[in-house]
Protein backbone atom coordinates (compact mmCIF):
# COMPACT_ATOMS: atom_id res chain seq x y z
CA UNK A 1 0.00 0.00 0.00
CA UNK A 2 1.38 3.35 -0.95
CA UNK A 3 -0.03 6.68 0.04
CA UNK A 4 0.26 10.07 -1.55
CA UNK A 5 0.09 13.43 0.06
CA UNK A 6 0.72 16.76 -1.60
CA UNK A 7 3.87 18.59 -0.53
CA UNK A 8 1.99 21.82 0.08
CA UNK A 9 -0.38 20.02 2.45
CA UNK A 10 2.37 18.23 4.35
CA UNK A 11 4.04 21.61 4.88
CA UNK A 12 0.95 22.97 6.68
CA UNK A 13 0.02 19.87 8.69
CA UNK A 14 1.32 19.07 12.15
CA UNK A 15 0.79 16.42 14.79
CA UNK A 16 -2.37 17.31 16.74
CA UNK A 17 -0.65 16.25 19.94
CA UNK A 18 2.93 17.58 19.72
CA UNK A 19 2.31 20.15 16.93
CA UNK A 20 5.60 18.95 15.42
CA UNK A 21 5.92 18.33 11.65
CA UNK A 22 4.71 15.06 10.17
CA UNK A 23 6.57 12.87 7.72
CA UNK A 24 4.99 10.53 5.20
CA UNK A 25 5.67 6.82 5.45
CA UNK A 26 4.56 5.93 1.95
CA UNK A 27 4.69 2.18 2.35
CA UNK A 28 2.74 2.11 5.59
CA UNK A 29 0.34 4.74 4.29
CA UNK A 30 0.82 6.74 7.46
CA UNK A 31 1.82 10.19 8.61
CA UNK A 32 4.37 9.86 11.38
CA UNK A 33 5.25 12.20 14.22
CA UNK A 34 8.63 11.22 15.62
CA UNK A 35 8.25 13.58 18.55
CA UNK A 36 5.04 12.09 19.93
CA UNK A 37 5.71 8.59 18.59
CA UNK A 38 2.37 8.44 16.81
CA UNK A 39 1.52 7.22 13.30
CA UNK A 40 -1.68 8.52 11.75
CA UNK A 41 -3.53 6.60 9.04
CA UNK A 42 -4.46 7.97 5.62
CA UNK A 43 -7.85 6.55 4.64
CA UNK A 44 -9.13 6.93 1.08
CA UNK A 45 -6.62 9.72 0.58
CA UNK A 46 -7.76 11.64 3.69
CA UNK A 47 -5.30 11.99 6.60
CA UNK A 48 -6.93 10.97 9.87
CA UNK A 49 -5.18 13.29 12.31
CA UNK A 50 -6.95 12.18 15.47
CA UNK A 51 -4.83 11.16 18.45
CA UNK A 52 -7.36 8.43 19.30
CA UNK A 53 -6.95 6.86 15.86
CA UNK A 54 -3.15 6.94 15.84
CA UNK A 55 -0.88 3.94 16.20
CA UNK A 56 1.83 4.18 18.84
CA UNK A 57 5.33 3.53 17.50
CA UNK A 58 8.66 3.25 19.27
Amino acid sequence: MTAKIDDWLLEILACPQSKAPLRLDEEAGELVCDESGLAYPIRDGIPVLLVDEARRIN
Binding site: K4, D6, W8, I12, L13, A14, P16, G45, L49, L50
Partner: protein, 258 residues
Protein backbone atom coordinates in the same frame (compact mmCIF):
# COMPACT_ATOMS: atom_id res chain seq x y z
CA UNK B 1 -24.75 13.01 14.73
CA UNK B 2 -23.90 13.09 11.03
CA UNK B 3 -23.18 9.36 10.96
CA UNK B 4 -25.92 7.51 9.13
CA UNK B 5 -27.82 10.66 8.26
CA UNK B 6 -26.82 12.77 5.30
CA UNK B 7 -28.52 16.05 6.16
CA UNK B 8 -27.95 17.31 2.64
CA UNK B 9 -30.42 14.71 1.39
CA UNK B 10 -33.16 16.61 3.19
CA UNK B 11 -34.97 19.29 1.26
CA UNK B 12 -34.14 21.59 4.17
CA UNK B 13 -30.56 21.77 2.88
CA UNK B 14 -30.44 21.90 -0.90
CA UNK B 15 -27.30 21.67 -2.97
CA UNK B 16 -25.18 19.81 -0.41
CA UNK B 17 -24.69 22.83 1.84
CA UNK B 18 -25.74 22.63 5.43
CA UNK B 19 -26.45 26.13 6.67
CA UNK B 20 -29.48 28.32 7.22
CA UNK B 21 -28.50 30.66 4.44
CA UNK B 22 -27.70 34.35 3.88
CA UNK B 23 -30.68 35.29 1.74
CA UNK B 24 -30.83 37.90 -1.00
CA UNK B 25 -33.92 40.05 -1.42
CA UNK B 26 -36.55 37.63 -2.73
CA UNK B 27 -37.12 38.18 -6.46
CA UNK B 28 -40.77 37.22 -6.01
CA UNK B 29 -41.33 39.67 -3.16
CA UNK B 30 -41.22 39.19 0.63
CA UNK B 31 -44.30 36.95 0.73
CA UNK B 32 -43.18 34.61 -2.07
CA UNK B 33 -42.24 31.00 -1.34
CA UNK B 34 -38.46 30.60 -1.72
CA UNK B 35 -37.39 28.51 -4.69
CA UNK B 36 -34.81 25.71 -4.55
CA UNK B 37 -32.48 27.99 -6.52
CA UNK B 38 -32.87 30.75 -3.92
CA UNK B 39 -32.24 28.25 -1.13
CA UNK B 40 -29.04 26.95 -2.72
CA UNK B 41 -27.88 30.50 -3.50
CA UNK B 42 -28.49 31.52 0.13
CA UNK B 43 -26.17 28.80 1.40
CA UNK B 44 -23.48 29.71 -1.14
CA UNK B 45 -23.77 33.37 -0.17
CA UNK B 46 -23.21 32.48 3.50
CA UNK B 47 -19.77 31.20 2.51
CA UNK B 48 -19.01 34.32 0.46
CA UNK B 49 -19.98 36.56 3.35
CA UNK B 50 -17.57 34.69 5.60
CA UNK B 51 -14.72 34.64 3.07
CA UNK B 52 -15.08 38.38 2.41
CA UNK B 53 -14.70 39.12 6.10
CA UNK B 54 -11.40 37.22 6.05
CA UNK B 55 -10.05 39.36 3.20
CA UNK B 56 -9.27 35.98 1.72
CA UNK B 57 -7.53 36.35 -1.58
CA UNK B 58 -5.13 34.88 -4.06
CA UNK B 59 -2.05 33.27 -2.58
CA UNK B 60 -3.39 32.97 0.97
CA UNK B 61 -3.52 29.83 3.07
CA UNK B 62 -6.66 28.99 5.01
CA UNK B 63 -8.51 26.29 6.91
CA UNK B 64 -12.22 25.58 7.32
CA UNK B 65 -13.07 23.94 10.64
CA UNK B 66 -16.15 21.72 10.42
CA UNK B 67 -16.40 21.52 6.63
CA UNK B 68 -19.11 18.85 6.51
CA UNK B 69 -19.67 17.79 2.93
CA UNK B 70 -17.02 20.19 1.68
CA UNK B 71 -19.08 21.97 -0.95
CA UNK B 72 -18.65 25.28 0.87
CA UNK B 73 -14.89 24.81 0.94
CA UNK B 74 -15.00 23.97 -2.77
CA UNK B 75 -16.81 27.24 -3.44
CA UNK B 76 -14.25 29.22 -1.42
CA UNK B 77 -11.38 27.48 -3.22
CA UNK B 78 -12.91 28.23 -6.63
CA UNK B 79 -14.03 31.82 -6.04
CA UNK B 80 -11.36 33.24 -3.72
CA UNK B 81 -8.25 31.58 -5.19
CA UNK B 82 -6.40 30.69 -1.99
CA UNK B 83 -3.01 29.02 -2.42
CA UNK B 84 -4.08 26.37 0.09
CA UNK B 85 -7.35 25.46 1.79
CA UNK B 86 -7.42 22.64 4.33
CA UNK B 87 -10.98 21.55 5.07
CA UNK B 88 -11.27 19.79 8.43
CA UNK B 89 -14.09 17.72 9.87
CA UNK B 90 -14.36 15.30 12.78
CA UNK B 91 -16.77 12.93 11.04
CA UNK B 92 -15.35 10.17 8.84
CA UNK B 93 -18.82 9.68 7.34
CA UNK B 94 -19.14 13.33 6.34
CA UNK B 95 -15.64 13.29 4.83
CA UNK B 96 -16.48 10.14 2.90
CA UNK B 97 -19.37 12.01 1.34
CA UNK B 98 -17.17 15.06 0.80
CA UNK B 99 -14.66 12.89 -1.05
CA UNK B 100 -17.36 11.80 -3.50
CA UNK B 101 -18.90 15.23 -3.93
CA UNK B 102 -15.64 17.16 -4.29
CA UNK B 103 -13.28 15.05 -6.42
CA UNK B 104 -11.05 18.08 -7.00
CA UNK B 105 -9.84 17.67 -3.40
CA UNK B 106 -8.33 14.21 -3.90
CA UNK B 107 -4.55 13.76 -3.50
CA UNK B 108 -2.65 15.00 -6.52
CA UNK B 109 -5.58 16.97 -7.97
CA UNK B 110 -4.80 20.49 -9.14
CA UNK B 111 -7.18 22.39 -6.85
CA UNK B 112 -5.49 23.72 -3.67
CA UNK B 113 -8.14 22.04 -1.49
CA UNK B 114 -7.73 18.93 0.67
CA UNK B 115 -9.80 17.25 3.37
CA UNK B 116 -8.36 16.18 6.71
CA UNK B 117 -10.11 14.42 9.60
CA UNK B 118 -9.46 16.37 12.78
CA UNK B 119 -10.82 17.74 16.04
CA UNK B 120 -11.70 21.45 16.29
CA UNK B 121 -9.94 21.70 19.64
CA UNK B 122 -6.72 19.89 18.51
CA UNK B 123 -5.95 21.32 15.10
CA UNK B 124 -3.36 19.29 13.14
CA UNK B 125 -1.81 22.41 11.68
CA UNK B 126 1.56 24.04 12.10
CA UNK B 127 2.05 27.19 14.13
CA UNK B 128 1.47 30.45 12.22
CA UNK B 129 0.94 28.45 9.03
CA UNK B 130 -2.25 30.18 7.90
CA UNK B 131 -3.60 33.57 6.88
CA UNK B 132 -7.19 32.71 7.72
CA UNK B 133 -9.34 30.26 9.67
CA UNK B 134 -13.11 30.09 9.29
CA UNK B 135 -16.10 28.02 10.28
CA UNK B 136 -19.67 28.01 8.99
CA UNK B 137 -22.48 26.70 11.20
CA UNK B 138 -20.27 24.15 12.90
CA UNK B 139 -19.11 25.84 16.12
CA UNK B 140 -22.37 24.82 17.83
CA UNK B 141 -20.92 21.30 17.79
CA UNK B 142 -17.44 22.19 19.13
CA UNK B 143 -17.01 20.64 22.55
CA UNK B 144 -14.42 23.08 23.88
CA UNK B 145 -14.66 26.62 22.52
CA UNK B 146 -11.70 28.00 24.53
CA UNK B 147 -9.53 25.19 23.15
CA UNK B 148 -10.75 25.90 19.60
CA UNK B 149 -9.99 29.61 20.02
CA UNK B 150 -6.50 28.90 21.35
CA UNK B 151 -5.82 26.51 18.49
CA UNK B 152 -7.12 28.93 15.86
CA UNK B 153 -4.84 31.61 17.23
CA UNK B 154 -1.86 29.26 17.27
CA UNK B 155 -2.19 28.29 13.62
CA UNK B 156 -2.71 31.86 12.38
CA UNK B 157 0.16 34.12 11.47
CA UNK B 158 0.31 37.50 13.23
CA UNK B 159 -2.39 39.61 11.59
CA UNK B 160 -4.23 36.53 10.34
CA UNK B 161 -8.01 36.51 10.54
CA UNK B 162 -10.69 34.32 12.06
CA UNK B 163 -14.38 34.28 11.07
CA UNK B 164 -17.06 32.12 12.67
CA UNK B 165 -20.62 32.10 11.33
CA UNK B 166 -23.17 30.49 13.63
CA UNK B 167 -26.22 31.11 15.80
CA UNK B 168 -25.75 32.21 19.40
CA UNK B 169 -27.97 33.07 22.31
CA UNK B 170 -28.38 36.85 22.41
CA UNK B 171 -27.69 36.63 26.15
CA UNK B 172 -27.18 33.90 28.72
CA UNK B 173 -30.52 34.88 30.28
CA UNK B 174 -32.26 33.67 27.09
CA UNK B 175 -31.11 30.09 27.57
CA UNK B 176 -34.07 28.60 29.46
CA UNK B 177 -36.72 29.94 27.08
CA UNK B 178 -34.64 29.13 23.94
CA UNK B 179 -34.13 25.57 25.18
CA UNK B 180 -37.87 25.04 25.51
CA UNK B 181 -38.41 26.27 21.93
CA UNK B 182 -35.53 24.58 20.11
CA UNK B 183 -35.25 20.82 20.21
CA UNK B 184 -31.56 20.69 19.31
CA UNK B 185 -30.76 22.99 22.25
CA UNK B 186 -32.63 20.74 24.66
CA UNK B 187 -31.23 17.41 23.42
CA UNK B 188 -27.61 18.54 23.32
CA UNK B 189 -27.11 18.35 19.53
CA UNK B 190 -26.37 22.08 19.58
CA UNK B 191 -24.27 23.42 22.44
CA UNK B 192 -25.00 27.10 22.20
CA UNK B 193 -23.40 29.91 24.16
CA UNK B 194 -24.25 33.57 24.46
CA UNK B 195 -22.65 35.75 21.80
CA UNK B 196 -20.84 37.92 24.37
CA UNK B 197 -19.40 34.81 25.99
CA UNK B 198 -18.03 33.68 22.63
CA UNK B 199 -16.38 37.03 21.90
CA UNK B 200 -14.96 36.94 25.45
CA UNK B 201 -13.47 33.52 24.68
CA UNK B 202 -11.77 34.94 21.58
CA UNK B 203 -10.34 37.89 23.53
CA UNK B 204 -9.14 35.57 26.29
CA UNK B 205 -7.33 33.51 23.65
CA UNK B 206 -5.43 36.63 22.61
CA UNK B 207 -7.38 37.75 19.54
CA UNK B 208 -7.81 41.45 18.82
CA UNK B 209 -10.41 43.39 16.80
CA UNK B 210 -13.03 40.95 18.06
CA UNK B 211 -16.56 41.66 16.84
CA UNK B 212 -19.83 39.80 16.32
CA UNK B 213 -22.10 41.15 13.62
CA UNK B 214 -25.76 40.13 13.55
CA UNK B 215 -26.82 38.91 10.13
CA UNK B 216 -30.23 37.82 11.40
CA UNK B 217 -32.21 40.08 9.05
CA UNK B 218 -30.65 38.16 6.12
CA UNK B 219 -31.24 34.73 7.66
CA UNK B 220 -34.32 34.03 9.70
CA UNK B 221 -37.41 35.20 7.81
CA UNK B 222 -36.54 33.56 4.50
CA UNK B 223 -35.17 30.46 6.23
CA UNK B 224 -38.53 30.11 7.98
CA UNK B 225 -40.37 30.66 4.70
CA UNK B 226 -38.25 27.86 3.24
CA UNK B 227 -38.98 25.50 6.16
CA UNK B 228 -42.67 26.25 5.62
CA UNK B 229 -42.48 24.54 2.23
CA UNK B 230 -40.59 21.45 3.44
CA UNK B 231 -41.47 18.35 5.39
CA UNK B 232 -40.55 20.30 8.54
CA UNK B 233 -43.35 22.83 8.20
CA UNK B 234 -45.28 21.54 11.20
CA UNK B 235 -42.51 20.76 13.64
CA UNK B 236 -40.36 22.62 16.11
CA UNK B 237 -38.02 24.00 13.40
CA UNK B 238 -40.47 26.85 12.87
CA UNK B 239 -39.48 27.98 16.36
CA UNK B 240 -36.14 29.30 15.06
CA UNK B 241 -37.91 32.39 13.72
CA UNK B 242 -39.95 32.64 16.89
CA UNK B 243 -36.81 32.47 19.03
CA UNK B 244 -35.24 35.20 16.87
CA UNK B 245 -38.33 37.41 17.04
CA UNK B 246 -38.49 36.95 20.80
CA UNK B 247 -34.88 38.17 20.95
CA UNK B 248 -33.48 34.88 22.25
CA UNK B 249 -31.18 33.76 19.45
CA UNK B 250 -29.59 35.39 16.45
CA UNK B 251 -27.23 34.48 13.65
CA UNK B 252 -23.82 36.14 13.74
CA UNK B 253 -20.53 36.31 11.94
CA UNK B 254 -17.88 36.74 14.60
CA UNK B 255 -14.53 38.05 13.40
CA UNK B 256 -11.15 38.51 15.04
CA UNK B 257 -7.52 39.17 14.24
CA UNK B 258 -4.48 37.31 15.51
Amino acid sequence: MYGANDLSSLTLFSGGFINFGYWADPPGGPDSAPTVAERTASQQEMYRQVARRLDLGAGQRAAEVGCGLGVGAALVAAEFSPAALVALDLSAEQLGRARERVPQARPGAAAPLRFVQADADRLPLAEAALDAVYSVEAAQHFEDLPAFAAEARRVLRPGGRLAVAVFFLTAESARARATTLLETFGNGVDVVVAVDDFTAVLRAAGFTDVAAESIGPRVWHRFDAWIARTEYRDVWSRNWLRAYEEGLVDYYIATARR
